[in-house]
């Protein structure tokens, strides 16, 4: 691949998608180069989760095309990991942290074969990476919100996922846990993985994401955070004025409710 033309990990063209009874997103054109991070912002119902669910092949386009890692979504599954919104997961299910991480090898090992010593070693290494090695034997439900997200990231590492999609990973986390999570996402990107996350936290964007996509039923703005996060764009995305200051290329939002 010639320099200056980065390979695209996500390529969306003229996408219209929705559910049986309603269209949620229209005419989306979007691309995410491999090894970069992208944030998707927008109001509730604006289409953030719908777009992610299209990328993992859970929803089929009504119109347009979606390519993930250069192929149709259904054929890219072994290379991507999806962390759904936290309430979609049954955290009270009685399994240990290590068992959750080991789920990362399930899709690529034969059904009858239990995870071997290699997989266990790799799982412990993945837990080490997300600073959860000491929690391996604890029930997943005993972990804090930030630790739970990190356990799922360890599972994605074990899966050797090239593309990691996170649906509102920071929601419900306190500030230190959010920063810890974002630092880990930065690490993933540095290793060459592609990270796409939906978020309500506009302040983390400039420091941690290469590009932003603003959705409200369609694309309102996209590009590097400092370009995309213009007051008029945010007004159009959230339907009201969002006070912000831009200083030294960093965008700070003063208050934000949704």
């Amino acid at each position: 691949m010639a320099p200056g033309h980065p390979r695209l990990c996500v390529e969306v063209q003229d996408l219209t998608v929705g559910y049986e009874d309603r269209i949620v997103l229209r005419d989306v054109n979007w691309a995410v180069p491999c090894g970069t991070s992208a944030a998707i912002i927008g109001p509730n119902g604006g289409g953030k989760s719908t777009l992610l669910r299209t990328l993992i092949g859970q929803l089929r386009p009504i119109k347009g095309t979606v390519r993930v890692l250069g192929r149709p979504p259904a054929q890219a599954r072994h290379l991507l990991a999806y962390l759904p919104q936290t309430e979609e997961i049954d955290w009270q299910f009685p399994i240990r942290v290590i068992d959750v991480v080991l789920q990362g090898v399930l899709a690529r090992t034969p059904w009858w074969r239990p995870p071997g010593r290699d997989a266990r070693t790799a799982a412990m290494a993945a837990l080490e990476r997300v600073r959860l090695a000491g929690e391996a034997e604890r029930p997943i439900g005993a972990l804090s919100g930030g630790q739970r997200q990190r356990a799922l990231i360890a599972r994605a590492l074990l899966q050797e996922a090239q593309l990691i999609l996170l649906d509102e990973p920071a929601t419900g986390l306190d500030a230190p846990a959010q920063h810890e999570l974002l630092d880990i996402l930065d690490d993933l990107k540095r290793e060459g993985r592609t990270v796409i996350a939906t978020t309500h936290d506009l302040n983390c964007l400039t420091d941690h994401f290469d590009t932003v996509l603003c959705l409200r039923g369609r694309v309102i703005c996209q590009g590097p955070p400092e370009e995309a996060l213009k007051p008029e764009h945010l007004q159009a995305v959230f339907g009201r004025h969002v006070p912000l200051v831009t200083a030294e290329g960093r965008v700070t939002i003063f208050e934000h409710h949704h």
């Binding site: 599954r77 049954d90 899966q159």
Partner: protein
């Protein structure tokens, strides 16, 4: 000492009691394993509904003169498949699809029954169950179901855990979630159908849920929870059947009463331990 042995051995002088002990013990093992998933995923109502749906199959089998288990099994598996399909394709809430399917199948059973009033007695026995009338053929069915369930668990246990814990994440990673959900419901259907003759529609749900719920009071790991659920189920079965033999109480209801008492004792014990 001798009196204790006599006390314990006495029921086994009767063939029907020996078959009852064997049959219900096997059901307790099967129901403990399947029931752990059913209890954790809040599928208790589904077990009950599948049991009622299989009633339609029982009547159909009677009218057609084919083996009852077969009719019940086809209706139960059909309900399980219908649930999986309706949930995914029609976008209906799970309990809505369930209510439509099982009341429909149950109504078919009632309609079929009305054409042959003479069957009423037999069918009542199937709804309530008759532990003391378990036949070797029933035990063979239960054993087959237990072996099938064991084989499925040996192969797909970790997949079933994955889809129970995080269905969206599993689907995105390429795990066949819909197929596994259907498989789990089919195991529930199988458990219900082979247990019908012995313990009836209501009591089989109790044997799936109550021991698993008792176990869940004390353990936080699924493998251990299943083992403890099986142990509780077996204990309830044996205590219940001995009590029923010596006190002349209805055996199925006695077993379930013991299981319920176990759960109550578990609640109290846990509270005491926390102090």
């Amino acid at each position: 000492m001798n009196t204790i042995i006599e006390f314990l051995a006495e029921p086994f002088q009767y063939g029907f009691m020996a078959r009852a002990f064997l049959g219900v013990s096997l059901i307790a093992v099967l129901a403990g394993v399947v029931g752990s998933f059913v209890m954790l995923k809040g599928l208790a109502f589904i077990g009950d509904a599948i049991a009622h749906a299989s009633f339609g199959g029982l009547v159909a089998a009677m009218l057609l003169g084919v083996p009852l288990h077969l009719g019940a099994l086809i209706f139960a598996l059909g309900t399980a498949a219908g649930l999986t399909l309706l949930g995914r394709k029609a976008g209906l809430r799970a309990d809505t699809s369930l209510a439509i399917l099982f009341t429909g199948a149950f109504a078919l059973g009632v309609l079929g029954l009305a054409t042959r009033p003479s069957f009423t007695g037999d069918l009542t026995a199937l709804l309530v169950g008759s532990v003391l009338a378990i036949q070797p053929l029933d035990i063979a069915w239960i054993l087959a179901a237990a072996l099938i369930t064991g084989a499925v668990m040996a192969v797909a246990f970790r997949h079933l855990v994955y889809i129970s814990f995080d269905p969206s994440g599993a689907e995105a990673a390429g795990v066949p979630v819909a197929g596994l959900q259907w498989l789990l419901l089919s195991l529930v259907a199988l458990t219900v159908v082979v247990s019908l003759q012995a313990v009836g529609v209501v009591l089989v749900v109790a044997l799936m849920i109550t021991p698993a719920a008792t176990a869940s009071l004390f353990v936080r790991r699924l493998e251990v929870l299943m083992a403890l659920a099986v142990a509780c189920g077996l204990a309830a079965t044996w205590i219940g059947l001995y009590a029923s033999f010596y006190l002349s109480t209805p055996p199925g209801a006695t077993v379930v009463t013991v299981a319920t008492l176990q759960f109550t004792a578990g609640l109290i014990l846990r509270r005491l331990r926390r102090r």
